[in-house]
Homo-oligomer: 76 residues x 2
């Protein structure tokens, strides 16, 4: 697993093709971010438009549906 | 779990605030979509800009990192 920390010290994990899942704090709220990054002209990796920031509640809902989603995917 | 099928027959699950996770086929490739929807003036629910479509490989990478992510979240 390729893991790192961003400029704010928030942990993230690479999931391929410059896409990452990680989490951050925003105004006291934890957000789980799944986002694509791109390399800026200065070589810095910056967050792109493709992505979504989930509240903890939405993330927990996502975790709950994964078994059904995976079963449905495997039945394809 | 609130589950449904979209106009193309692709399954999705609600994760809150008009956000869904589901999957679809695009040119023979399965994509796992996590996306926010909005209600169009005609009442139809349409995909919005916030979201990301993961390849199966990226989705499997995401599944692999979840235990570490969850442990890190709980250590907060």
């Amino acid at each position: 697993l390729t893991q790192g920390k961003d400029a704010e010290g928030n942990p993230f994990w690479e999931i391929g093709n410059n896409r990452r899942i990680g989490f951050s704090e925003f105004k006291g709220t934890t957000l789980v971010n799944i986002r694509e990054f791109y390399t800026a002209p200065n070589g810095e990796l910056k967050p792109g438009k493709k992505g979504i920031s989930l509240t903890l509640e939405q993330y927990k809902a996502l975790l709950r549906v994964l078994p059904e989603l995976n079963a449905s995917l495997q039945a394809e």
